[in-house]
Structure formats: structure tokens, C-alpha cells
């Protein structure tokens, strides 16, 4: 029953989206009063219905209803409840339903909250959203019905990939999806503004909160995903340049560029066409990301749907939306009035360089990600990996850091070179001091990590410079946001550089009682014991760890886990977090001689990577709160003016 109700809700939501599209077209071209009044309720109804469908799917998973095909293929009655629920979106059909659910709810939110746009632009925006939604509804209802039944119902399900049974993975896909879908809303704003030719500061101010929100969620999702891969896969790395990681990085890069250019448009009415173009590109990247992950074209754990028909369907959607948006852009870009002029040496100038460098990185990541797929079309099997991406994006990213440090110290419109040099004194001093301190005892760490550490110090000083001489309590929230976000990048960069420069590794066969050194730690294997979990069994190694020879000992227990449905084994690393880094331990296989393989890492300041990511997201959130609040005040002022 629940499954049928879900399917019915999905069909009704699709119908609402179609209606929404018709109403929007009508409002844009004739503006009849009753149509104008109908469009908001219809958008809200669509959001409500699709949320209902998602809720039904979650319920079916919670009840382990084995007459639903999707539950059979991705769940098991013995699974903990959290992973039963997460199972609802830990698969192809469910994740696509989640995608369109977030889209529907976001559309309803635009209909309820957006008061700054004029009626026609708002309707065109809502219409563009409905158009995106219609394609995804068609995809779900025609090619991947999540509520399909199976008869006869089997006794139990096939289980969920154990790698996916982790709190990190239960939460980070929805977080990323909110980011992806938030970008699609920004895209709809751009389409709406193009349709009604209303590209200007008002439009930028309306779009900015959506870009900011999407960007915060993308940042959180990428940070959480990176930490998940780090502790769950047991390989000790935090970024693999896996195509699926790139699928989330590319929209983030585009959204970061968009975020900065939207500021130029809102504040100084410049970069009009460029901002619209970036909105189109950012959305294209989130669509390409969806396509890469969901079409089964990739070599990845995440790409679980190996089905050419679905791949072709998403590819067609991709072509229609991106092609359509680019065509609209090409037709209308001539009517977008030229914005304000600015001097090359100005805040705008620095933001243009920031945009260009981000676009260059984006281009390289895109080429590196798609190249193997294109080559496969010509019968050449190759894979592009970490060496390529590190070598090409690393130096450009460091160059970007320099402009990031200088940008906020520049004035809008026009600035003097001498004044900038004066303001850069302290950041440059920070860079120099770090370099002088590091060079003597860290000469062997390589050029990039050394440059990374020194630049991180310079950027940290430059980031807090805009707060100097200000009354901190009267400093606007969005200035705080910028400062914290930029400081977060410096912290993250320091963590990355430190990890690649100073990590110590020990790989041994450990026998009970023998001490092994890694970094400042001594590790002894005390013993092994069996552990039983809800749907797995494991062998845990108890490691007694001391810092130096005389420190107080503590216990770490890495596990080797075995899951029976489906039969799989995984490693559970054990990690000790200290202020100056992490001790990371992994248990390997038994050795015939009676020992156990142990892999130990000492990673100084590695936690800074994710701490920085969290700071960046926090900065975005503060900015968002500041902007929304200020927007409210403005609307109220306009009302009484």
C-alpha cells in the first residue's frame, strides 16, 4: 500500500510540475491575474507531494518491505535502523528521487520566501525549475521506478555494500545533493532573468543567498566525504581524485567563482554576462556530476547503476538542459546591458583573476575526468590519476592563494599600487617568517609543500587584515563570514601541506609485545579478540600506545570486519586525535609466523584539512545569515518608504 501511495504521489507531483510550467509560460507572456495567484500554491503543492513520495520510500525501507524490488536489492532485515533509512537513498533510484525531492522543496521555498524579484521574473524562475523537475520525474517514472514490486517476495534482502554502512555515508550524500540542487535554483534565477531581461543588481541580490546556501552545503559535503574516505577506506589519504570526488569538486569550483562574481554584480553592477554564464556553467557541472555518478560510466564504488539505458536518458536530459541554457544565453546575451567599468587594480580586478584561475582549475579537472571516458569510446583503456591532477592543479591553486590574500585588501572600483603594497606588508612578512622558520629543518619536504605552508601563513595574516582597526561588534556578519572562510582555506592548506610533508609511515608484521615506532609514538600489540556486531563479526587488535618511551599508555583497537550479506570484509581503522596531529592504525592480514600486519601512520596537523573545510562552510553560513537579515531590513524599509 505504502509503495503505491508513494508512486501515486510521484505521478501527482509530476503533474503539478507540468502545470507549474504552463502557468509560468502564461504569466511571462500575458500576466493574467488568476494565473499569477495560482503559481505559488502549485509550486508548494509539488514540493509537498514529492516529499510525500520520498517519505513513502523511507517508510518502505524502515519496514523492510521485501515485496519492493529496491528494498530487496539494497537492504537486509538485520541491518541497523540508521542504515535501513540511509538505504533509501544509498542506491540509484532512491538517490534520484532524493534529488527531485530536494528540487521540489527548494521550488516551494522560492515560491514562499522570494519577495525581491518582480512577478514576471519570479514566475519565469519557478517555470525554469519546473522544467528541470519535469525531466527528472520522467526519468524516474519511465526508466527507474523506485516503487517497483517483485513477485514472489523473497525472504530477505541482499544487503547494502558494507562500505556504505557508516554514519558519514548516511549523511553526506543528502548534504551534497542539497548543494547540487541549490545550484539548480541559482540557474533557474539566471534563466528567469534572461527570459525577462532583468539582469542587474536586484537579480544578483536575490540569487546570492541561493548560491551561498548551495555552496555551504557543497563545502560541507566535500569536507565530510573527504573525512569519510580517510577513515573508512583505511588507506590514509584524504583525496584520491576519484571521478566521483571530482563530480562534487567541479560544481564547487564553479559555485565558488559564481559566489564571487555575484558579489561584483550585486555591489558594483559589473560582470553581468559573466555571472549569468557562470550560473549556467555551475548548473552544467552539477548535472555532469549527476550524470557521471548515476550513469554507471565510471570506475568507482559510488557508480552502482551499470545500465546504458539510464545513462543515455540522463545524457539526453543533460544535453537538453545545458544546450537549452546555452542557446538562451547566446540569444539573450546581446540584450544584457554592459555593467560598470573598473580599473584592473581594484577589488573587481582581483575577483576577475580569482574567477579566471578557478575556471582554469575547473577546466583541467573536467578534462582529466572526461578524458578516459572519451578515450574508451575510441577503444583506448586508460585512467587519469593523482599524478596528473596534483601536477596540473597544485601550482595554479597556490597562485590563486596569492590573489585570495590580496583581493580583500583592495578597494572597489580603483586602487593604488603603493597603497596595496603597504597593506600587504604584514601578510608578506607572515609568508617570509614562515619560510625562514621552515627552510632550515624542512628542506627535504619538496617545493610544493614548503610553498603551501608559507603561503598558508601569509594568507592567514591577510585574511584577518580586514578586521584591523574596526569595531569588531559593529562589523557586519558577512565581513566576518569572508574573514572566517578565507582563514579556513589557509588552515586547510596548512593541513594538506603538513600531511604531505611530514607524514611518517611504519608497515610491519607485529607480534605480541614487540614495540614499533612511528613518529613520536611507540605501538605494542597487546592481543587480539573477536567482536560481534549487528550484521558483522570482526577481529580487533588491542594496541597499547605511548608517546615517547615514558608517556601514559592508551589503547587503540583497529578491526578487520567480515560482513555476510553480501559477503565482504572491510578494515576499521583506529585513530587517536591529538592537537598536533593524528595517529592512524590499520589491521591487515594474519601472517603464517603468528603475527599480524599493521600499518601505522603519524600525520601531523592532518585534522587542519577538515577543520579548515568546516571553517569555510561556517563563513559561508555567517555570510548567508548576514545577507538574508540585511535583505529583510531592506524589504521592510522599501515597504514603508
Amino acid at each position: 500500500m505504502i509503495a503505491e501511495a508513494g508512486l501515486a504521489a510521484l505521478w501527482l507531483a509530476a503533474a503539478m510540475a507540468g502545470l507549474q510550467l504552463l502557468l509560468a509560460a502564461n504569466v511571462v507572456y500575458s500576466a493574467r491575474e488568476e494565473m499569477v495567484r495560482a503559481i505559488r500554491p502549485v509550486a508548494i503543492a509539488q514540493g509537498f507531494l514529492v516529499a510525500l513520495a520520498m517519505l513513502c520510500l523511507i517508510l518502505v525501507f524502515a519496514k523492510s518491505d521485501m515485496s519492493v524490488k529496491l528494498v530487496v536489492e539494497n537492504s537486509h532485515s538485520a541491518k541497523p535502523m540508521l542504515y535501513k533509512l540511509a538505504g533509501a537513498w544509498g542506491n540509484h533510484e532512491g538517490s534520484m528521487l532524493l534529488w527531485v525531492t530536494i528540487l521540489g522543496i527548494a521550488g516551494a521555498a522560492v515560491a514562499v520566501f522570494e519577495r525581491r524579484l518582480d512577478q514576471r521574473t519570479l514566475s519565469a524562475t519557478i517555470g525554469a525549475q519546473a522544467l528541470i523537475a519535469v525531466g527528472f520525474y520522467a526519468f524516474l517514472l519511465i526508466a527507474s521506478n523506485p516503487f517497483a514490486r517483485v513477485f514472489p517476495a523473497p525472504a530477505d534482502g541482499e544487503g547494502l555494500n558494507p562500505l556504505l554502512q557508516d554514519p558519514g555515508l548516511a549523511f553526506h550524500p543528502p548534504t551534497l545533493y542539497i548543494g547540487y540542487v541549490g545550484i539548480s535554483v541559482a540557474f533557474s534565477f539566471a534563466v528567469g532573468a534572461l527570459v525577462t531581461r532583468e539582469v542587474g543588481p536586484a537579480f544578483a541580490r536575490a540569487m546570492r543567498p541561493w548560491v551561498l546556501g548551495a555552496w555551504v552545503f557543497l563545502t560541507l559535503g566535500i569536507t565530510a566525504g573527504s573525512y569519510w574516505a580517510y577513515y573508512e577506506l583505511g588507506w590514509g589519504g584524504w583525496w584520491f581524485w576519484d571521478p566521483v570526488e571530482n563530480a562534487s569538486l567541479m560544481p564547487w569550483l564553479a559555485a565558488t567563482a559564481l559566489l564571487h562574481s555575484v558579489s561584483v554584480l550585486a555591489t558594483r553592477d559589473g560582470l553581468r554576462a559573466w555571472t549569468i554564464m557562470l550560473a549556467v556553467v555551475a548548473f552544467s557541472m552539477s548535472m555532469i556530476g549527476t550524470f557521471l555518478v548515476r550513469s554507471g560510466i565510471l570506475t568507482s564504488v559510488h557508480a552502482f547503476a551499470v545500465d546504458p539505458e539510464r545513462g543515455a536518458f540522463i545524457l539526453a536530459l543533460l544535453a537538453i538542459y545545458i544546450g537549452g541554457a546555452l542557446a538562451l544565453f547566446a540569444m539573450r546575451v546581446g540584450t544584457v546591458r554592459q555593467g560598470n567599468v573598473f580599473a584592473p587594480l581594484s577589488r573587481e580586478g582581483a575577483l576577475v583573476v580569482n574567477n579566471l584561475l578557478l575556471s582554469v582549475i575547473l577546466g583541467i579537472v573536467l578534462i582529466g575526468t572526461l578524458y578516459p571516458i572519451v578515450a574508451a569510446g575510441f577503444g583506448v583503456h586508460l585512467s587519469v590519476g593523482k599524478p596528473f591532477f596534483d601536477k596540473t592543479t597544485g601550482p595554479i591553486a597556490l597562485g590563486l592563494v596569492v590573489f585570495m590574500a590580496a583581493g580583500p585588501l583592495l578597494r572597489w572600483r580603483r586602487d593604488q599600487a603603493n597603497a596595496l603594497l603597504k597593506r600587504m606588508t604584514w601578510p608578506v612578512a607572515g609568508f617570509g617568517v614562515a619560510l625562514i622558520v621552515l627552510v632550515p629543518f624542512a628542506w627535504g619536504i619538496g617545493v610544493l609543500p614548503l610553498a603551501g605552508l608559507a603561503l598558508a601563513a601569509g594568507l592567514a595574516v591577510a585574511s584577518i587584515a580586514p578586521l584591523w582597526g574596526r569595531n569588531l561588534r559593529r562589523t557586519p556578519l558577512f565581513t566576518w563570514g569572508m574573514v572566517i572562510a578565507h582563514l579556513g582555506i589557509a588552515v586547510s592548506l596548512a593541513g594538506m601541506a603538513s600531511d604531505s610533508a611530514f607524514t611518517k609511515e611504519t608497515l610491519v608484521v607485529a607480534r605480541i609485545g614487540e614495540p614499533h615506532a612511528v613518529g613520536p609514538y611507540w605501538v605494542r600489540l597487546k592481543g587480539l579478540r573477536p567482536v560481534i556486531g549487528p550484521n558483522w563479526s570482526a577481529i580487533a587488535a588491542d594496541l597499547s600506545v605511548t608517546r615517547g618511551e615514558g608517556g601514559a599508555p592508551f589503547i587503540l583497537s583497529p578491526q578487520a570486519r567480515y560482513f555476510s550479506d553480501p559477503p565482504t570484509s572491510t578494515n576499521e581503522s583506529a585513530i587517536a586525535t591529538r592537537l598536533d596531529g593524528q595517529l592512524y592504525t590499520v589491521l591487515g592480514q594474519p601472517d603464517p609466523s603468528g603475527g599480524y600486519q599493521l600499518r601505522l601512520w603519524w600525520k601531523p596537523f592532518v585534522t587542519f584539512i577538515w577543520l579548515g573545510g568546516a571553517m569555510v562552510a561556517l563563513g559561508g553560513m555567517l555570510s548567508l545569515i548576514g545577507r538574508v537579515r540585511r535583505g529583510r531590513v531592506r524589504v521592510v524599509e522599501d515597504y514603508y518608504a
Binding site: 584561475l357 575556471s359 583541467i364 578534462i367 570484509s569
Partner: protein, 144 residues
């Protein structure tokens, strides 16, 4: 500067940046892309020396040996037409086993053996790296 000129400048810069990015990416791809090899490819194409590559195939039954230090192991990868001996130091992935698929990242040595820095095995019973699936399929059809 007139608005039109500024627009031209910005467009020029953007084109330059995109061209630069593509150039950089393509030139790096030429010498950095890790190409995918099966043992049989080496006979046809020669040894790719001095370059990080991926080697894929099946772990030959009965070929896994551990060295005395307990963390170095040797095994043989086969694609049905040829074999390559592989040395790997580290903890093998959980589903690494004999007669099962594996993709090794590393470098070929002048003697035709392979030193792996990383092993990618099947993640679970359902999953197999597509590049490997394609390769095995290809060798099968070649034999017929």
C-alpha cells in the same frame, strides 16, 4: 577605458585562460596519464618504462607468496594470454585473492616485472572495475 574595450579585454583573458588550461592539461596528459595495461598488451606494445601505469587482470591461482618480512608479497597477474610477476609492499585489500580480479598501480621494471604501490581489488561480489571487465571480455573474445 570604454566599457566595450573592457569587455573585449576580459573576453580575451578568458579565452587565453581556457586555452592555457587545455594546453596544460593535454600536455600533462601525454606524460602523466596512467595507462591501463593487461599482461598481454606488453607483448604487443612493449614495456612502458619510467611511467606510472595500471596493470589489470586475474591473480593466478597458487601464485601468491609472502616475503620473509611479512609485508612484501609477490604474485602473478594473468589475462589468459600472458603473465606478469608483481611485487607489492603493503596491506592487500580485503577482497584480494587468487583467481579474482585485480588492478595494480605502479611501474614496470626493465625485466618485465611490475612493482605495485597500490592494489585495487573488487569491492564486493557485485562490483568489478569496468576497465577490468572490459579487458577480460576482450581477451576472451580474442581467444575464441
Amino acid at each position: 577605458m570604454k566599457p566595450k574595450h573592457q569587455r573585449m579585454w576580459l573576453a580575451g583573458l578568458a579565452v587565453l585562460a581556457v586555452a592555457g588550461a587545455s594546453g596544460l592539461a593535454l600536455s600533462a596528459l601525454k606524460d602523466q596519464a596512467a595507462f591501463f595495461y593487461a599482461p598481454g598488451d606488453v607483448k604487443k606494445q612493449g614495456l612502458p618504462l619510467g611511467r606510472a601505469v595500471r596493470l589489470g587482470g586475474l591473480v593466478q591461482g597458487g601464485s601468491i607468496r609472502k616475503a620473509a618480512d611479512g609485508v612484501t608479497m609477490r604474485f602473478v597477474v594473468t589475462d589468459g594470454t600472458a603473465t606478469t610477476p608483481v611485487t607489492f609492499k603493503g596491506i592487500a585489500p580485503d577482497l584480494f585473492r587468487e583467481n579474482s580480479g585485480v588492478v595494480a598501480e605502479g611501474q614496470f621494471q626493465p625485466d618485465g616485472s611490475f612493482v605495485a604501490t597500490n592494489l585495487l581489488a573488487k569491492h564486493d561480489e557485485k562490483y568489478q572495475p569496468p576497465e577490468l571487465a572490459g579487458k577480460l571480455h576482450e581477451t576472451k573474445s580474442l581467444k575464441q
